[in-house]
Amino acid sequence: MSAPLVTRQDEFLKTDELFINLGPQHPSTHGVLRVGLTVKGEVIVKAVPDVGYLHRGTEKLSEVRGYHHCVVLTDRWDYVAAMPNNLVFCLAAEKLMNLQVPERANYLRTIMCELNRIASHLLFFGTYGIDIGAFTPFLYAFREREMVLDLFEMACGARLTYNYIRLGGVMSDITPEWTSKTREFLDYFKARLEEYDSLLTYNPIFQDRTKTVGLVSADQAIAWGLSGPNLRASGVDYDARKFEPYAAYDKVRFEVPLGKGGSCFDRYFCRVREMGESVRIVEQCLDQMKEGEFMAKGVAKVPKPQPGEAYAHVEGARGNLGIYLVSDGGQSPYRMHVRAPSFINLAILQEILEGKKVADVIAILGSIDIVLGEVDR
């Protein structure tokens, strides 16, 4: 009765803003992330990342577990590169307990973290290629990643969640066979890095799609608290391995690749170059490592550190991973907070996606390289 007899034609064509959900299930293999995009035509007006789909409450769980048990929880944050997670917790707990780690254990920790950095950046390389549309580099990257995971399986028995770096040192020693296999892998991998360059890095189509998008200036990066290759791509030289060297990083020589413009291509390029630097670090560690203990003596089965607080930070594969640990003298940590780099890096998506085209969303999201286990903890 009140409906008009004649409807105007353009009432059906709503040309104002459209809300699209990117996720939580989408083809890019980043995990359960939902980005609510408000789109006007091709241009994004507002982007709201919605996290929390993988929140498991590890900070609360750690309050009822002993320190050794918490190391197992740490594996599950950045599950792609789990060794630095273990390491950062062990560093914080060792600070609390005033525990000295033997030198061989430090070298082993460094080797494992750098191998894990190679594995994580290989995964980034492969999945970023798929995001951009090149399907082959993914399989090459995973062929090499399988070799790294085989090395980890040989050392500690696990491929993804290692629990290898323990309080006071590492879980077990490596054999000469492992060392020779690692050297074999490193020799092979150096040739592969050149191949990856020719496949993606110098490809004009790839450069065309990534060099002009996702620009983040240095001030913007510092204001948003970015870390890792995201920050270094904008030209800011902040690497936890050089800021406050831990494990054996002060004994090896390596460089930290810096980018210039802060575009997606710079972030990608920093990571690819970091793989080469990791190879150098592992080689130097294998050369310099001497025989010795791999675990400190006198680590209690159920440690009860003195009341106090400690903060430790490492350069994880995703950025600056930190742990703030408060102990009240009991068997479990009183409070553990994880300064998760992926969580903080992801926040910049709200600002950086405004005004971009829909086709660039995947490229930008892929270049920030998040892992949802770390975002949600």
């Binding site: 290629g129 993914f138 399989l139 799609r209």
Partner: protein
């Protein structure tokens, strides 16, 4: 598991079974219900795990799969040597088989004379002959994707350092496509409610039929054209352009706006890239002096200095530019990577063929491979002397013309498949830029160069 377990409960239960209180007589009042001191917990022995010392530090089975040996010394691997031998045997077998069969044109003439001998009226005889030719061409197009899809899967797998289909049909999964085709036949044919039913049914048909029709004037060797049309080239391009309507219909009939936009984008891409494709052929037509495909192929016979064949691809600058532009534009025409925006991204959903399932989807698939084959046949005919042998000497001339045509076509098809798995994807606006600001101007320059060439 429903109620939170309390460790005290467990100990109370075990206490009850191993109670230390001796069974007292009924006279003695029983001990208080809760004992003053909790009974000692039963000692449960926790055994340290023992790992098999044989495994300590060893790499279990994965060592075999490390590619380091294949990288350092490939010929030391038995599988490598066997693969090379198998490839050599295959090529030699193909050579011998094709040389034994010989030219097909005489057999065709024999068949035609048999048909006209059987049937008295020449009208009926020519009718039956045309029907036979149509059936042959149709079967070529319908059977070719069976091989092409298998080949694509194998090539893509080996480029990606994996194996591809291995099981179906026994030897390296050569019947895989047949199995997939049967599966697609059995799939449920879903039409979305918001879709336009008749358009939804017609779209795949309108995409596929021109693909089949376009093969008519192509000569598959010497005198092996189904329809020797004088305006063959024009016919092919005109007919192939009709498919664009089918794609727009597919996008429209899906009933969702993302598919519609994908279909329109694809249509824009296809129509735009038809221009450099056609203009890059103009120098070839100028050199050949005819639009007839057979005559274009024949004008490339002969050899320079007795060694180099007079193929248009070898003409100094013009031939190479024409070939490259034609190849790139053909890749764009067939919606393949690096130009596959309509299939891959298109507003974050699949594209114009999202809502088609079962046989309709397989028709789109068929059309894509038919167009790939068409583009390769055209490249072989225009630029590589379709049917002519590259060298004028003994073993090469034993191979008949249809085998040479097939080999050249498959070589170009290999290029198509190769590009798909090597290059990343163009972004939509860059794709259009590439066409209008690069390919098209260069095709015009090419025509100018060709005319200078002809003057000299």
């Amino acid at each position: 598991m429903s109620a939170p377990k309390n460790p005290a409960d467990k100990h109370a239960a075990s206490n009850g079974s191993s109670a230390k209180v001796p069974p007292a007589a009924a006279v003695v009042p029983p001990a208080p219900a809760a004992p003053a001191k909790p009974a000692p917990k039963p000692k449960v022995e926790i055994k340290e795990p023992v790992f098999n010392p044989a495994y300590k530090g060893a790499l279990l089975t994965h060592d075999r799969y490390w590619p380091t040996q294949r990288w350092k010394a490939p010929w030391s691997l038995r599988s490598y040597r066997r693969g090379a031998l198998a490839l050599g045997a295959l090529l030699l077998g193909a050579f011998g088989l094709t040389a034994a069969v010989g030219e097909l044109a005489p057999w065709g003439a024999l068949l035609q004379s048999a048909v006209s001998g059987l049937l008295s009226s020449s009208f009926a005889a020519s009718g039956v002959w045309i029907l036979l030719k149509v059936l042959v061409v149709l079967h070529i197009i319908l059977v070719a994707p069976i091989f092409l899809v298998w080949w694509e899967r194998k090539i893509s797998a080996h480029i990606q350092s994996r194996l591809g289909p291995m099981t179906v049909g026994g030897w390296h999964g050569w019947l895989q496509t047949v199995a997939d085709g049967i599966k697609l036949l059995f799939k449920e044919d879903i039409t979305p409610i918001a879709a336009d039913r008749w358009v939804h049914r017609l779209a795949p048909v309108i995409v596929v039929i021109p693909a089949i029709l376009a093969f008519a004037p192509i000569s598959f060797g010497r005198e092996l054209a189904a329809a020797d049309i004088d305006v063959g080239v024009l016919y092919i391009f005109a007919v192939a352009g009709v498919s664009v309507i089918g794609i727009v219909m597919a996008g429209w009939a899906s009933g969702n706006k993302y598919s519609l936009l994908g279909g329109l984008r694809s249509a824009a891409q296809l129509v735009s890239y038809e221009l450099p494709r056609s203009f890059s052929i103009v120098p070839v037509l100028m050199f050949a002096g005819s639009l007839n495909l057979t005559r274009i192929a024949d004008s490339q016979a002969g050899y320079w200095f007795g060694v180099i064949p007079r193929w248009y691809i070898f003409y100094p600058v013009v031939g190479q530019i024409s070939f490259l532009i034609f190849l790139i534009a053909s890749v764009a025409e067939t919606n393949r990577v690096p130009f596959d925006i309509p299939e891959a991204e298109s507003e974050l959903v699949a594209g114009f063929h999202t809502e088609f399932s079962g046989m309709k989807f397989s028709l789109f698939f068929l059309a894509e491979y038919a167009y790939v084959l068409l583009a390769s046949c055209l490249t072989a005919a225009f630029f590589m002397g379709g049917g002519g042998s590259p060298l004028p000497w003994a073993p090469w001339t034993w191979i008949p013309s249809w085998a040479w045509f097939l080999a050249k076509t498959l070589g170009i098809v290999f290029c198509f498949l190769w590009f798909r798995w090597t290059f990343p994807r163009f972004r939509v606006d860059r794709l259009m830029d590439f066409n209008w600001k690069f390919l098209l101007p260069w095709s015009f320059v090419n025509i100018a160069l060709a005319s200078i060439y002809l003057l000299i």
